[in-house]
Symmetry: C2
Subunit: 131 residues, 2 copies
């Protein structure tokens, strides 16, 4: 694995741990000001800008506090010299939901840019399949 | 816009036109053998490999033949020297569906690699929000 891929893997792992702790500053620590997120809920046109991205998380943390997990199961990083993307599958649900639907996975795709030798997340796409 | 971004924009535009024509060879013309697709329907773990990717399209073409559109509304490309990603919003639905839910958008994220001076799609993530 390239050094860049290893750095991005560490960044996304830290991000997921911050999500699971409900640590809002940790969640937004490595994002660009112009981040665009396609989230699980609407709006259909996406969440645009770091302030709007930040505002999506407290309702998720409230839901997560019911005992839901947010665990990376697979993470694949494709790192170029200055742009990268990554895709991941996560177990994300309450114990009751995952008992009922054991194959349920949250799918994540990240787009990243390297700025001043630092990787930053500029795009996230979160979704569940429509059964 | 960089030359790479313009080439990727043209590639994705051709791909969407091939999807709308139901032109399967056109749809798979610029993909890697190891493409990974997170599709709207299951499987939750994704579609892996070009043969599996190809097999997802005929059922979509059958549905599209009811008169559904597949029109790119916005497309943003972030191209590095050797890796790129792009995000797009599409109008995708039958006239009845879009009349009932005018804000409905298909969200797409693409991951691309440059191989022998040619851009190829190695990852696609397709989703609708969960309302």
């Amino acid at each position: 694995m390239s050094d860049d891929a290893a750095r991005i893997r560490a960044l996304i792992t830290r991000w997921a741990e911050a999500v699971h702790r409900g640590d809002l500053d940790g969640v937004v620590a490595d994002h660009t000001e112009d981040v665009v997120m396609f989230d699980v809920p609407p709006p259909h046109e996406g969440i645009r800008g770091l302030a709007a991205y930040r505002a999506t998380w407290p309702p998720f943390f409230d839901w997560q506090a019911q005992g839901a997990c947010f665990d990376i199961e697979t993470l694949d990083v494709t790192a170029g010299t200055d742009v990268a993307y990554a895709q991941a599958l996560l177990r994300c649900g309450t114990p009751e939901e995952l008992a009922e639907r054991p194959t349920l996975r949250l799918r994540l795709t990240f787009g990243l840019r390297k700025e001043r030798d630092r990787w930053l997340i500029a795009h996230e796409h979160h979704s569940f399949p429509h059964d």
